[in-house]
């Protein structure tokens, strides 16, 4: 049984039957009796005061139940949205967080900001009535460019220069000293382009207030329903936690953007009591572009110091991070603690110093997006590694290998302590799979056809399962980052696992069941996974940062240990043997050295009928819970090699070959892991070649639809060559590291390193569109002509 459905088996995804037959239940599928519909009137301006807001005509429009504004929020003492991670400035003072009301209070700060909500019998009526709302805006200059943001005007009064924080990490003096001793210094300027998440399912919410029980229920597209409930209770003040139920049913993709607590769900749940009717909202695609939290958006200058042999001596990095108009739920930690500690990469770097400025602009809030800080760090590290190898005239693979961390545990100068890894093993396998030694031949072949061929490396490090709670708390996190699980064994031996993790594409219903099937020796179809409902599941922290395996499954594993221990006790009574003689293997409890045994289901039944023991001896039942707080991050790593072919006549880049060798430690379901790698690479290639949010100087989002925002598509990608190495994580019981973000972290620098190799210079930014590549080739051609 365990060989086909246990750990390590490519079990087909149990949840896919309902998804591909249209039987998934998403938030938009939820329709409550008497439900009304919300339409949000949004700001057409990037930056403006609201001089007058008159909703009287809209209130009288056909079908309208109510029109609510920021004044109504204030009247009901509903608090603003919060940022859950306090960052301190270099001088120790706290960051400058401006207020973030769910509906504007006197000012709008980005195109798409929420001005008022119209609640009507139908969505069309709400939309019609929105046209009757009179808003007199006092338009202010937009603040779009991070480099000039300090000139103002101030977006929030608390931050007059539009700087949220000025933060640093590492040893400045040691790094300066390293640079003084350097033989060579490589310098690079990079832009990490702004991305829009584009989950297939847009955000949605249904708020439903029960006046009888005084309980609010919120159905919402969330990756972490308990965190949503905590924030909406403790900070926004909708209702105490025991009077607020949050349900995140099937969720169609998150990529981070559904971690956060947004204005719309806050308003829907609050308004359901105001209007006495359930209130529903589903974003249209334009709203998703405008108001989902965006990702990335960094400007960085970095310098790498090396000695005469090409050993790295020091690394210094200066980054400006665009945080948008408001601080979204975890925005502040993304360019700081999720970014700077990754800047040591896979390398033994004696001294690192990082400075990060968080900047307010009149654009959509920016927060975690697949990889969250780690792709940005990897882009900096792997671009400058490639550039340094080129400047030193060294082979990029050999240069990396020379600087790899080779003994573990390894303490970096930027917080992280890598428990384990084998970076050379991944590199060796990747070089072989990519047929690196024959690249020169392929390049010549391409040249014959008038094409430019290039190869690029990315040797990335990931940090998943952000933890331990005490450590992140000391760095400013407002929450703990453990996970919970409860294993409920039914009297017939079937099992329900209640997990604080949340699945929105990851396949937990399959992989978590594989763990249970493996450990308890029962049929995988006897296991169901319950998640996403705060009334069913104990408090949990949710899914993000590739934590569901390493943290969520570790919690399940701990609970399973307890179930087996309790089962042994029950079996000892049922089999009339000493508990210490009871062995559990392949789904049977047996008495050592005898042929006496009971199947797992029989022991479960004994636990519930409780005929063989007294209450004084043993509690009936078989249900155990566990909370797992990791002792460290996990550190997946790997090497991706990208080979591109460029058509110099058009600037079109084709990915000719992609090799990914990842070390995720132990793997539960190789098929699902490969799927995660595929999706991650596609998203990373999307960032490198296609995607880029573009605001014009007035703060209008030019790329607000698929007409202008380029998504990666299947025909943009080759068939990936996927390899794996395995050095199990040493700090969690299952040896898991996490795989959800690796592809998106690894791939952008691999693509750009390949393109810069092909065109012969470093001057190209992401996304490397045909226009950008053609322009870059023109400049290299003119450079050649001038030489």
């Amino acid at each position: 049984m365990s060989s086909t459905t246990g750990i390590g088996a490519s079990v087909l995804r149990k949840e896919d039957i309902r998804f591909i037959t249209g039987k998934g239940q998403y938030t938009d599928d939820v329709n409550r009796q008497g439900q009304a519909h919300a339409y949000f009137l949004r700001s057409p301006h990037a930056h403006a005061t609201i001089k007058k807001l008159d909703v009287s005509a809209a209130k009288k429009a056909a079908g309208v139940l109510d029109v609510l504004t920021g004044d109504d929020l204030a009247h009901d003492k509903i608090g603003g949205l919060i940022c859950g991670w306090m960052i301190h400035n270099k001088d120790g003072s706290p960051m400058k967080a401006g207020a973030h009301p769910a509906l504007a209070q006197g000012k709008v700060r980005y195109v798409g900001d929420h001005v008022a909500v119209i609640i009507a019998e139908t969505y069309a009526q709400a939309k019609d009535a929105a046209e009757l709302v009179v808003v007199d805006y006092g338009v202010l200059p937009a603040v779009v460019d991070m480099n000039t943001a300090s000139k103002g005007p101030a977006i929030h009064d608390v931050a007059p220069d539009n700087v949220v924080y000025d933060w640093h990490l590492g040893d400045k003096a040691a790094t300066e000293a390293a640079f003084k001793n350097a033989k060579h210094i490589t310098k690079i300027d990079l832009v990490n382009n702004r991305l829009i998440p584009n989950a297939m399912e847009p955000r949605a919410a249904v708020g439903d207030y029960d006046a009888g029980t005084e309980v609010f229920t919120l159905y919402t597209t969330s990756q972490n329903p308990h965190v949503a409930r905590l924030v909406l209770s403790a900070f926004v003040g909708i209702a105490p936690e025991h009077k607020l139920r949050v349900i995140a049913p099937d969720v169609g993709g998150g990529f981070g953007s559904k971690i956060f607590i947004y204005a719309e769900e806050t308003v829907c749940v609050w308004a359901s009591k105001r209007v006495g009717r359930p209130v529903k909202w589903t974003a249209d695609r334009t709203e998703a572009f405008l108001s989902d939290a965006h990702g990335r958006d960094h400007i960085t200058h970095a310098e790498l110091a090396t000695d005469e042999k090409g050993k790295i001596l020091g690394f210094r990095v200066k980054t400006k991070a665009n945080l948008g108009a408001y601080l979204s739920t975890f925005s502040s930690c993304v360019p700081t603690y999720l970014y700077a500690p990754l800047l040591s990469g896979q390398y033994d770097i004696p001294a690192i110093y990082v400075e990060v400025e968080g900047i307010y602009t009149t654009t959509a809030p920016v927060d975690a997006y697949r990889g969250a800080g780690r792709p940005e760090a990897t882009f900096v590290v792997e671009r400058i590694m490639e550039k340094t190898a080129r400047e030193l005239g060294q082979d990029p693979a050999a240069f990396r290998r020379k600087n790899f961390v080779k003994s573990f545990p390894h303490q970096t100068p930027v917080i992280m302590c890598y428990d384990t890894g084998n970076y050379s093993a991944s590199l060796d396998l990747a070089l072989e799979m990519a047929d690196y030694k024959n690249f020169g031949k392929r390049k010549k072949e391409s040249a014959k056809n008038g094409k430019l061929r290039g190869i690029g490396f990315s040797a990335y490090i990931e940090a998943c399962g952000i933890a331990p709670s005490a450590a992140v708390g000391s760095l400013g996190a407002g929450v703990g980052l453990w996970e919970s699980a409860e294993v409920r064994v039914n009297p017939v031996g079937t099992v329900e696992v209640l997990t604080g993790s949340h699945s929105h594409g990851q396949g937990h219903e399959t992989t978590f069941a594989q763990l249970v099937s493996d450990r308890l020796g029962i049929d995988i179809n006897s296991v169901s996974i319950v998640h996403g409902d705060t009334d069913k599941v104990q408090f949990g922290m949710g899914t993000y940062g590739s934590r569901s395996g390493s943290v969520g499954m570790s919690a399940i594993s701990k609970a399973l240990d307890k179930v087996i221990a309790k089962g042994k006790k029950v079996a000892s009574y049922a089999l009339e043997a000493s508990e210490k003689d009871i062995e559990f293997k392949d789904g049977r409890f047996s008495v050592a050295g005898t042929d006496k045994s009971l199947a797992f289901g029989e022991v479960a039944l004994q636990a519930y009928i409780a005929h063989k023991f007294t209450g004084a001896e043993l509690e009936p039942g078989l249900k155990e819970g566990a909370f797992y707080d990791p002792t460290n991050f996990t550190f997946p790593s790997g090497v991706h090699i990208c080979e591109v072919e460029i058509d110099p006549d058009t600037g079109v880049t084709t990915i000719a070959k992609w090799t990914a060798v990842d070390d995720f430690g132990n793997v539960i379901n190789p098929m699902i892991v490969e799927g995660q790698v595929h999706g991650g690479i596609a998203q990373g290639v999307g960032q490198a070649l296609f995607e880029g949010a573009h605001y014009d100087k007035d703060g209008q989002l030019v790329t607000a639809s698929y007409m202008d925002y380029t998504m990666p598509r299947a025909d943009n990608l080759p068939s990936f060559q996927i390899g794996m190495t395995n050095t199990p994580c040493t700090t969690n019981p299952l040896g898991l590291k996490g795989c959800g973000e690796a592809g998106a972290i690894a791939s952008p620098p691999a693509v750009i390193n390949a393109i810069t190799d092909a065109i012969g210079h470093e001057n190209i930014a992401m996304p490397a569109t045909p226009l950008a590549v053609w322009t870059a080739i023109q400049s290299s051609a003119s450079k050649l002509a001038a030489e």
Partner: protein, 267 residues
């Protein structure tokens, strides 16, 4: 979408009468542009006059040295037509590359031409093949039909009935798509008939589809890809946006034209 009245005339004549009675009405053909625009509240016609049930607007036939295509013929039908595939394979290939399968199964040639989207594919074929637009009132030569972005020679109450394409000796369409929308960023249709070579460019011009004088001059002596080597197209009058500067579009026109000529010669 705002409310509107809906009419389903059985003949073109009825459609024209309805258009006369409803000044803010729009003709609905395949609806692949109009309906999304209405859904986004960017268009609010008082009435839709749906040509879906009007007789005699669909079909493909050869008449003399021409292929005649009814205005309501869907892109998918043109793409899969044995007649078009035999007589003007470049036109079938163009139709097969419009949008996605859903668009091709609903969108029509008449709707595309009447809309004259500056990045639509069909206008380049009509212009390069020197087709004639036949309406309920008159025959309009291609060179007179397209009058700038989203603008045509069609008058009030005038409805396209069919399009007549002279069969060329050689023709091909090559599209360089916008990376996001995959509409043509530079689409070039080349057609040679007798001694005349016409080169029509869509997606690039700030005033919609146009004939490239530079490319036509270069191909006049010899219809061969090499003839386009070194041809420079002026950037003035070309679109510039985040996906392509006017200089880049100007550069692409002869590059894509060259590929189109190579394709035409391979057939």
């Amino acid at each position: 979408m705002y409310a509107f009245s809906y009419h389903s005339p059985k003949t073109v004549r009825q459609a024209a009468t309805l258009l006369g009675k409803n000044p803010d009405a729009k003709v609905l053909a395949g609806g692949q542009t109009l309906l999304p625009t209405m859904k986004q509240r960017l268009a609010s016609p008082s009435a839709l006059i749906d040509l879906g049930k009007a007789e005699g607007l669909s079909g493909i036939e050869v008449k003399g040295r021409n292929v005649v295509i009814g205005a309501m013929t869907r892109h998918a039908d043109v793409a899969s037509s044995a007649i078009v595939g035999e007589a003007i394979p470049a036109l079938a290939a163009l139709a097969g590359g419009i949008g996605d399968p859903a668009v091709r199964n609903r969108g029509t040639i008449g709707g595309s031409l009447a809309n004259n989207d500056p990045a639509a594919d069909y206008p380049s074929a009509v212009l390069a093949l020197n087709a004639t637009i036949i309406t309920n009132k008159r025959k309009i030569p291609a060179d007179e039909f397209f009058q700038g972005m989203f603008s045509t020679a069609l008058e009030e109450g005038e409805v396209i009935v069919k399009v007549s394409f002279p069969i060329p000796s050689k023709a091909a369409y090559e599209k360089f798509p916008n990376p996001a929308s995959r509409y043509a960023m530079v689409g070039v249709f080349v057609a040679k008939k007798g001694s005349e070579t016409r080169v029509a460019v869509t997606g690039a011009g700030s005033d919609g589809v146009f004939r490239s004088a530079e490319c036509e001059a270069a191909l006049k002596a010899r219809f061969n890809p090499k003839s386009l080597d070194g041809v420079k197209v002026k950037a003035a009058g070309l679109n510039s946006d985040i996906h392509a500067s006017s200089e880049y579009r100007a550069h692409l026109i002869p590059v894509i034209a060259k590929r189109a000529v190579a394709k035409a010669m391979a057939k």
